[in-house]
Subunit: 700 residues, 2 copies
């Protein structure tokens, strides 16, 4: 037996209580490799229902996969479920190193005694509220995956892969019966390719990652002040003059849509208008509300340029443009942005003022609602439903539009109460480098929701938003993953699945598993450090990076005048938005303060001693690399804080305290050390501060 | 002053003697970061002429780049040199972390007092023997890059980036005058996308890497028994039935060609016929020399299926096919393969035998020459020159074909003596995991070449060949880089540049620099180990991997029945083809044996002690990961060998020896330990063996 891998002797059912089970089976966290344990406790997102069974389905080189039904689809074996089965086998071979005998690229097994049998009723349509459910029955002799549509088959294969387990005899799937379906139908990730262009390979690998955690909407934010990122054959000046040559060709768009569709993912395009549109005006200054010329914006923020709703010429332009885009993007929804119209251009334009007066618009909101109503007609004409940010919400619009809330759950509730569909993004802004925990506990339909059942059904789901002011193709994966897996779980799993500790425990193996899909979120940190160091030896930089996180929220923008041409190759860009070692340290400190366990004290001491001595090892790097010199305060402050922390810990371990003046003095030093440096901050200071404060409390 | 960074006080010239200079400036190799030193000693490939000067051109945020001439090209600023300048600035910002002020994506500086000025005479054509020369003059106040064609500008920017240096004041380019041009005009890399498909992103990042070391021909091996990898609109069954869905669309081909052209790189397609063609017959069995049906081949080797040269129907087929491909690929050359026609199908086909007899062909070579002569007419008709492997060489063919030698330099010499152009690939088979040194010393025109000057001019250059039986998109970068940089230098630099130690010294920073282009050669090793370990803690596996290399040559094929569906995700796939730490250890052992320096003894002892104790740390990984269990013998044998090595070193350090029986016994153990395991071998055993043998020699 492998330690930690307990056989399940009795068959028991747990519905929505997998977490209790998980807690029993949790692997100890330590520096030695965790024994691989029964995959049932690693599932992410947690399925709706899991019944653990007896026994193990052995995975060996003879494993075969067979489609039981429907036997043939139009197009022969090369349909979506077939390709998903082939990818499943490739990934299974990759994880196990097994030379699977089946030629799974060419055909499924003709019979699969002892193999994996999958079946479904019909091909799924990529629209909201399509059936994505599946059941998975794993018995010692066979695995059966059944679904209403092939979308369920896709998700079932992802679940099965997550179940891969190992014991002394080799690999296996643990016997279980799983019945699963999503809580929300709209589980999205927005990728902003406007502010920093993200090429096809970035999109493809993120589509693979989305599928791995059962997300089903890629929201491509295609146009921004900083770039117009899609080829228009109707108006080629748009991409020619608005993109610096960095745009998707229509062939690439089709390639990405096909890739996404193959993975059960819709691709919804966003063309953000009437604001956020400077790049359009590089080609068509005449459509803006103030005289040009315009150039693609390099800075970040909310800018003045906006389309002129009073200029009748823009509507035939949008008619022709959206006709083209409606043909390019098959998704039933088209997102028109609509956020943050800054208003200065409108206010300063006499013709627009006259137009407002003539139509009786009380304010710019009225003008924008007019613009949206004109656009809506165009979208309907071309067969699309409209989606937009909070600002598009206006009671004059019909009920089949979708409101995407970036401003807060309140606006979503208000829209639902008036009969509008909504998706939540407020609280899912992953670009802001906040902890997964915050996103995880942010529910589109919280327990205290004031909505009735009919209104609740209008909340379609949510979207993680990866705004890309500060993210390049090198760093974007680490800004999205693994934290977005927590959001994926919030949107798929039942509302009662809310254990933060268990979520973090499962985030670890999930993050490792994402790497097989080509994601760079883990490996690019070392690469950036190697580049900065100019060589392969980077250990002291890695040690420092463990204790550091990028500044949160919009704080980083205050540190430098960032533009789309700035380098995002500094130390801060190698730091994870949420350092797992730092979180581990904080957790251990809190446990120690609660229990005063000497074993925990020793672990904390080792951490702090390592960070304290690290500064001397960092210094030679600063001498050789000017780009690294900015991290000296971080490294020094960490060493100083650990010096204080070690002193505090020493006292606490002896059951002694410190005078209040000492606590005050050291807390002040820690507060000083917590100032930003190198656009980053130390992520362990508050925990060290708690050690210091504890010294002022009653001795234990 | 940073240690090791000596200012150049006197101006001196060194032409083809940069290596002596490099030796003086070489950074010490150690575990602490090497101080960044004057970039002049890191250039790879070494330029034809380098004159070091006084002073430093400072790189700061105000740096500007300006095109001095020609002022305007057709298409405005968005030409190749402009884009190269923009990429240069992006990479420079990335390396330095500097927020460069110039908007280099939109326009060049209008004046560049103190900036970088580049100019060229005319756009270069992507054909052999085009002028690629450039001069680079770096003075404290300005950098001037001049070239006959924009190709020279591209290479000059690569050189300038390599020159980036740092001191206590920040970043700088060292003053110097460089006059550079390539020794050979054909500096290629073959990527085999047939045996394992390599998607567009793999090709693009490798194009970037090629440009970084001034290679200028991407040879795409597009068809193989295992796959037909290009969309044919004329004969769509070819890619539909021959590729398992893994092929380049024509849009993707055009995209890659444009990307390559932008980097000064030709793309030459290869369609390997009449053998190596099973995948074609999945679509058109009737064109083969034996009855079908055929399926895409999964195994590797030399297979029977071959086109039937006696079947008149194949010529109109090839006429239409090559017409389409000639339109798709603008390169003047088209490679028809022609290697390893196995012959069984021809011998067994009575119609072919009758055809041979009728035409008086003595053997199958005669038949293939006939086939080639028919093909040649087709290629000429469609405006292409023919390239093929050794086997196509036949005196009946005209003199403007090009012979690519995989069998040896002898065939290249023979062809040149008969007036044929040739390129060398024998000795550049990077897929065989041999040391860079072997490729580096392999010269297309060795000093003892029997060719006269006119014949020598027929040797156009060479190509590294990345055959892909054992390489996937995850591992291919590590199989190509950094070793291919040594071949790039052989083909670019003067023949006298041959210091192996200096090449390896420069390969280190070159390898790190390649990462900024997206290459995965360094970072994917850890990724594979994390996947195998199932977690982020992989140190013992990394330590073992340092001492291990994949089996060389074709030995790995003897270890398992590899197919195109096999997993290449095992421990061996995380091992570098040439371990730099293992080479360092071997070098140190040899130095110690020569000098008996106790400092060296200590370093060797530390290495061996680490490897010896590593085995106990590896064992827990084997318990949790069945896929890792195969490495137990490697790990155990390394520990045992180090036990022996430490014993030998202890004796030698005392100036004592061991009895001959001891030497014999221990050598036998080492020989036993050198057997392959996990498809890999230990790369430090011979060095340990030398320590053992030294114990039997005269005491020192």
């Amino acid at each position: 037996m492998i330690p930690g891998n307990r056989p399940l002797k009795s068959r028991f059912v747990f519905r929505l209580t997998v977490l209790a089970f998980a807690a029993v089976m949790a692997a100890p966290s330590s520096a030695v490799p965790a024994p691989r344990i029964d995959g049932l406790v690693n599932l992410m997102p947690v399925p709706a229902s899991v019944t653990a069974g007896d026994g193990r389905f052995r995975v060996d080189e003879g494993l075969a996969v067979l489609r039981a039904a429907p036997a043939e689809l139009k197009g022969g074996p090369k349909d979506r479920a077939f390709r998903a089965a082939a990818r499943f086998m490739t990934r299974l071979a990759g994880r196990t190193g097994l030379f699977l005998k089946q030629d799974f690229l060419a055909s499924q097994a003709s019979s699969a005694d002892g193999g994996i049998r999958y079946s479904f009723g019909s091909p799924g349509r990529l629209v909201p509220n399509e059936d994505e459910s599946y059941t998975l029955k794993i018995e010692p002799a066979a695995v059966v995956l059944e679904a209403k549509t092939d979308l369920g088959v896709l998700w079932g294969f992802e679940t099965l892969l997550q179940l891969l387990s190992a014991d002394e005899k080799g690999y296996y799937f643990p016997c279980a019966a799983i019945a699963d379906k999503p809580r929300f139908t709209w589980r999205g990730l927005l990728i902003d390719v406007g502010r920093h262009f993200q090429p096809v390979d970035v999109i493809k690998r993120n589509l693979d990652a989305m599928a791995a955690v059962k997300m089903n909407v890629l929201h491509l934010h295609l146009t921004e002040d900083q770039g117009f990122r899609v080829e228009s054959k109707t108006f080629p000046k748009l991409h020619e003059l608005g993109s610096d040559g960095m745009f998707f060709t229509q062939a690439q768009i089709r390639e990405m849509i096909e890739y996404a569709s193959d993975r059960g993912i819709r691709v919804m395009p966003e063309f953000d208008i009437p604001g956020h549109s400077t790049s359009w005006f590089a080609a068509y200054p005449e459509f803006s509300s103030a005289p040009g010329p315009y150039a693609v914006e390099r800075h970040f923020g909310v800018f003045g340029p906006a389309f002129n709703p009073a200029d009748e010429r823009i509507y035939p332009f949008f008619d022709a443009f959206f006709k083209e885009m409606a043909g390019l993007f098959p998704d039933p929804y088209l997102h028109i942005g609509g956020d943050e119209v800054e208003g200065h251009q409108w206010d300063a334009n006499p013709a627009i003022q006259a137009f407002k007066k003539k139509h009786g618009f009380a304010d710019n909101n009225g003008l924008q609602a007019y613009f949206n109503s004109r656009l809506l007609k165009i979208l309907i004409k071309h067969g699309k439903k409209m989606v937009g940010w909070d600002e598009i919400f206006d009671p004059s619009l019909p009920k089949d539009i979708v409101i995407q809330s970036w401003r807060g759950p309140k606006s979503l509730v208000e829209a639902a109460q008036k009969g509008y569909q909504g998706i939540l993004s407020n609280g899912y802004y992953i670009d802001l480098c906040q902890p997964a925990e915050e996103h995880y506990l942010n529910d589109p339909l919280p327990a205290d929701s004031p909505l009735d059942d009919r209104q609740k059904a209008l909340i379609l789901g949510g979207e993680a938003t990866m705004w890309a002011e500060l993210a390049t193709p090198e760093t974007i994966d680490s800004r999205i993953w693994p934290r977005t897996a927590a959001i994926a779980e919030r949107l798929w799993s039942q509302a009662s699945v809310r254990s933060v500790d268990d979520m973090y425990r499962r985030l670890g193996p999930t993050s490792i598993a994402l790497e097989e899909l080509g994601l760079l979120h883990l490996k690019n940190a070392d690469m950036i450090l190697r580049r900065l160091a100019g060589g392969p030896q980077i250990k002291p930089l890695q040690v420092l990076a463990e204790a550091v996180e990028p500044l949160k929220g919009y704080e980083r923008h205050g540190q430098a005048e960032y533009t789309s041409l700035s380098p995002f190759t500094r130390f801060v860009d190698a730091c994870s938005p949420e350092s797992m070692p730092a979180r581990h340290f904080r957790t251990r400190v809190d446990e120690f303060l609660a229990k005063r366990d000497p074993v925990l004290a020793e672990e904390i001491r080792t951490h702090m001693a390592g960070w304290r001595q690290n500064h001397a090892l960092v210094l030679p790097f600063l001498a050789s690399s000017p780009a690294l010199r900015e991290i000296e305060p971080l490294s020094l402050n960490l060493a100083r804080a650990c010096e204080i922390g070690l002193e505090a810990l020493g006292q606490l371990a002896k059951g002694e305290g410190q005078p209040a003046a000492w606590v005050q003095e050291k807390s002040a030093i820690l507060a000083d050390a917590s100032k930003p440096a190198a656009h980053a901050e130390l992520a362990v200071l508050k925990a060290i501060g708690r050690l210091v404060e504890a010294c002022g409390g009653p001795a234990k």
